[in-house]
């Protein structure tokens, strides 16, 4: 039984009272919107024959306070709608996704009927319901394993059972805990312990020397050197030499510390960036399509700097400051306990007001940040779209838009500047009040000679008190950077913990020689929940043959290619290569045997040679040239002054769409895979060049499996078999001749394109 929602006792009783055997239920679930589109409690029970939907409100009938003081609540269910659907009567059970809600409908006697409504919170459950109901109708049972396989258990929070909002990130926003974060943090911490210890050591040496200085320059100087009868009376030169020695030692260690920090900082940030980048490149494609890559890059840079700062600056300083504070306070306390108490009178006020002021500033900073972000995004937008801006002569309007946002951002910044100029000096004055109290009371004690005070002690006390401001200010600020660090760490772990959707299975099958039989078996897939892009498609491509995939734009053709290369996992059904499910194949075998030339050609910055050799770095020059000749790329490459060494990419040679495609074809040819997918690979070329490439490819791909995706039918001239994809379904398949005879979708496409030729006077 699939228990998507554990029913409260009252609901189970309610259903039992209606004559439904809750023990025989195959699936129980909940939804939150009633048939009348009002928020309600909706409970659904599926058993072998019926789907039962009950809507209403769970209410507390009465409440009784038990003798131990705890309330006993009796829940009841006020029914608003109760409906039973016979499964055998329902056809086409499906989810209709609305704006932020959805509904599950079916056909009953060919009339559409509503089963239940749901909000996006339950969209996954609704999809699961449809699949369960379909499989129940077809096989008479729910294949729990299969449904589980489609990630309903492993993608939910173990604590509260809710699914993660983003399956790529196993983070439940409702019960995310800091403990786990800190645990992980300590792991990272151990990783860098050597550096942190080194920095801590040098810092503590510096502060030790710093702590000695006031003692030497005040207590010893005034009490032992200047005072008559002092231990070192009159030895001014000596004491100055000691002071210089201490200063020089401290300076040397500071220099050393600076050098160590610089080295460590470079090393740790490098290490972090490398780690993040490595994890990123292991992630599935869907992670990137859901995010802006630009933002991701800045995030990596900022966060790694932030985390470095945490480990190498923040943490050691934190420890150091606390130790310093305690040591200084102890020293001050030993010198004069009463004075110490007075000195710290204003400190709590300082801390409280600092905290309060921080809240105000936090908001102001967030505002300024979000305004700057919107202003920056405008700049990026306009610069990228300069061609459009200019061609519609919208420069002035863009200027105004820019001006408006720039002004807003400047206002926010000015606000921060003015406020901080006003507030902070006052705040620090508050802290300094303590020192006036010390001057006053201390001076008075010296005059009266009470509390064992003399001038030397007072001077030493004041010197130590001066040293305490640094740590105090730091500690007042510590909670702010702590929360910022946690944010950065959280984002970092988001990436490192992201669930790799497309994973190599544990014991992957490695095939030495791939024959190239490809089979799709009842494959379904959707990028967005409940919106099927591929719906139950099956076909076979025997080794050595060529399959053509035709269809309108957006029909789902490229998705098929993405699935075969396993950039995404299928949702339902399986894809087999040589009879082995690609989920069981090792990545090495898969990547070695399948190559794709996709419609979005991406060339890296670098030379043409490097780009062609990308998938096959060990290729010889002869091989590169041969591949380029086959791809009809050679002829234009040799025309460039630098030949194969022509640099392409930003600020370098810009290639046309057709040229880029030819280079990517050469790249795929060089790899020489057993299965080649050409996804609109020749769409940006004229028909003649396309023809040339195809003929060359035909000779090359003899005996290899080729899948050609195209909307131009002439591209598919040599296909042995064709399949037609429409709205994610496959209405037709067969040879071109068979399809023409069928007079279906393919026939229409064919006629349309033939008509186009007719209008310009070319008849067949």
């Amino acid at each position: 039984m699939i228990n998507l929602e554990k029913f409260p006792a009252a609901i189970s009783e309610y259903f039992t009272a209606k004559g439904i055997d809750m023990l025989g239920a195959l699936m129980t679930m909940k939804s939150d919107i009633g048939a009348d589109s009002v928020y309600k409690d909706v409970y659904i029970v599926v058993d072998t024959e019926y789907v039962t939907v009950a809507e209403g409100t769970v209410v507390f009938k009465h409440e009784r306070i038990r003798s131990d003081g705890n309330p006993v609540r009796a829940e009841g269910f006020v029914e608003a709608r109760y409906e039973r659907f016979m499964l055998s009567e329902l056809e086409e059970i499906k989810v209709e996704q609305l704006i932020s809600t959805g509904r599950v409908t079916a056909l009953r006697d060919n009339e559409p009927v509503l089963i239940f409504n749901f909000s996006s919170t339950y969209k996954h459950d609704a999809g699961l319901f449809c699949r369960a109901a379909e499989s129940l109708k077809k096989d008479g049972k729910i294949d729990e394993e299969k449904l589980k396989d489609s990630d309903y258990e492993k993608n939910s929070c173990p604590k509260c059972g809710r699914r993660y909002p983003d399956p790529d990130r196993k983070i439940c926003p409702k019960c995310m805990d800091k403990v786990r974060l800190i645990k992980k943090l300590s792991k990272l911490f151990l990783h860098y312990k050597r550096y942190i210890l080194l920095i801590l050591l040098s810092l503590s040496l510096i502060s030790m020397l710093g702590a000695i200085t006031p003692y030497v320059s005040n207590q010893i100087f005034y009490a032992d050197v200047l005072k008559e009868g002092g231990r070192y009376y009159g030895k001014i030169l000596n004491i100055i030499l000691v002071m210089i020695a201490v200063r020089v030692a401290s300076l040397l260690i500071s220099l050393l510390n600076g050098a160590i920090s610089a080295k460590v900082s470079a090393e740790v940030t490098y290490d972090l960036r490398k780690n993040i980048f490595e994890t990123l490149s292991r992630l599935s494609l869907s992670f990137f399509t859901n995010r802006q890559t630009g933002g991701l890059m800045t995030q990596i840079n900022n966060d790694s700097t932030m985390i470095y700062w945490f480990f190498c600056d923040g943490f050691p300083y934190f420890v150091l400051n606390i130790v310093q504070l305690i040591v200084f306070m102890i020293i001050m306390f030993i010198i004069n306990p009463i004075l110490t108490v007075y000195a710290f009178v204003t400190v709590p006020i300082f801390f409280i007001s600092f905290k309060f002021i921080f809240l105000i500033f936090d908001k102001m900073y967030a505002k300024s940040w979000s305004r700057r972000r919107s202003f920056n995004s405008l700049i990026a937008d306009v610069l990228n779209g300069m061609r459009v801006v200019k061609s519609f002569s919208r420069e002035d309007d863009e200027m105004k838009r820019f001006d408006k946002r720039s002004k807003l951002s400047a206002d926010a910044d000015a606000d921060i500047g003015i406020k901080s100029a006003k507030i902070f000096p006052m705040l620090f004055f508050l802290l300094k009040i303590g020192s006036y109290i010390v001057w006053g009371i201390g001076g008075w004690q010296v005059m009266k000679g009470t509390g064992g005070m003399d001038y030397a002690k007072l001077a030493t006390f004041i010197a130590y008190f001066g040293l305490i401001y640094g740590p105090l200010e730091f500690l007042a600020d510590v909670s702010n950077w702590w929360s910022e660090c946690l944010n950065s760490l959280q984002r970092l772990f988001e990436i490192t913990d992201a669930n790799v959707e497309v994973k190599e299975c544990e014991n992957p099958v490695t095939l030495d020689k791939v024959k190239g039989d490809v089979e799709f078996r009842n494959v379904s897939f959707s990028y967005i929940e409940n919106r099927k892009v591929i719906d139950n498609i099956s076909f076979e491509v025997p080794s050595g043959s060529t399959l053509g995939i035709v269809g309108h734009t957006g029909a789902g053709k490229s998705t098929l290619a993405n699935l075969l290369t396993r950039l995404y996992n299928t949702e339902d059904g399986e894809i087999l290569i040589d009879g082995v499910n690609i989920k069981d194949l090792s990545f090495e075998t898969l990547r070695r045997s399948v190559a794709i030339v996709s419609q979005e050609t991406y060339l890296f910055r670098g030379s043409i040679l490097e780009n062609i050799k990308y998938a096959c770095p060990e290729a010889t020059e002869d091989q590169v040239i041969a591949a380029s000749v086959i791809a009809s790329a050679h002829s234009f490459i040799v025309k460039y002054p630098d030949g194969y060494h022509t640099q392409i990419g930003f600020g370098n040679k810009e290639l046309s769409g057709g040229e880029r495609q030819r280079i990517s074809i050469a790249r795929a040819i060089l790899k020489n895979p057993q299965i080649l997918i050409l996804d609109e690979a020749t769409a940006a070329m004229d028909t003649q060049t396309e023809r040339q490439i195809q003929e060359a490819l035909n000779r090359l791909t003899k005996g290899k499996t080729t899948i050609i995706i195209a909307h131009r039918l002439s591209t598919l001239r040599d296909a042995d078999n064709l399949i037609v994809i429409e709205n994610g379904k496959m209405p037709e398949s067969g040879t071109a001749k068979e399809l023409l005879k069928k007079k279906g979708v393919y026939y229409n496409l064919y006629k349309l394109q033939a008509d186009a030729l007719k209008t310009i006077g070319i008849e067949d």
Partner: protein, 186 residues
């Protein structure tokens, strides 16, 4: 310049050429006076004279959901192909307008926030507790920058982690406490 408005041949439905009704199980459906729906782009010699026909179940879709929720309603079939456009709901009256309004309201069901009770941001997620016209609700949101859409200067559309939407019609109409809580995102 030949007017491109004429070239596009937009088809508008009004009470003169369209009639709404409900299917047996209560879904919106429509009869319209229009040329037969072409199943096949290429079939020739089809009779194109308009006539009343029963289109069966239809789907309404707002083209400008934020600016003009009652104007420019697209009437679609189940695959999302457009039959025509309702320029303004006021072109219909009585039961017809009721059906259109009812189904639009269902499709665009979106609680409008009237008061922000509490708003906390923690580790990249924000936790909201709000009062809406549909009652008290709480939700969590990831990345407030991307999930709070500023539809106009005063109007916001919020999307929570599950993809549910919440609207704030006019931020200036909120009480000052609520306004100060969300001020940051404006």
């Amino acid at each position: 310049m030949k007017n491109f408005l004429d070239l596009a041949e937009l088809k508008y439905f009004t009470s003169d050429n369209a009639k709404m009704y409900k299917t047996k199980n209560g879904f919106a459906a429509m009869k319209a006076f229009m040329p037969p729906i072409k199943k096949d782009d290429l079939a020739e010699g089809q009779d194109n004279t308009p006539d009343w026909q029963d289109l069966g179940r239809v789907y309404f879709h707002r083209m400008f959901p934020f600016d003009a929720p009652d104007e420019f309603i697209s009437v679609l079939d189940k695959d999302g192909n457009e039959y025509g456009i309702i320029r303004n709901i006021t072109d219909f009256s009585g039961e017809d307008a009721d059906i259109i309004n009812e189904f639009l309201a269902r499709k665009y069901l979106c609680p409008e926030i009237t008061k922000v009770i509490s708003l906390k941001e923690k580790l990249g997620y924000s936790y909201w507790e709000v009062e809406t016209d549909k009652g008290k609700m709480s939700f969590s949101m990831h990345d407030t920058y991307r999930n709070i859409a500023r539809v106009s200067d005063t109007r916001l559309v919020l999307t929570d982690v599950d993809g549910n939407r919440f609207g704030i019609k006019d931020v200036l109409a909120l009480d000052s406490k609520s306004y100060r809580k969300i001020e940051l995102y404006l």
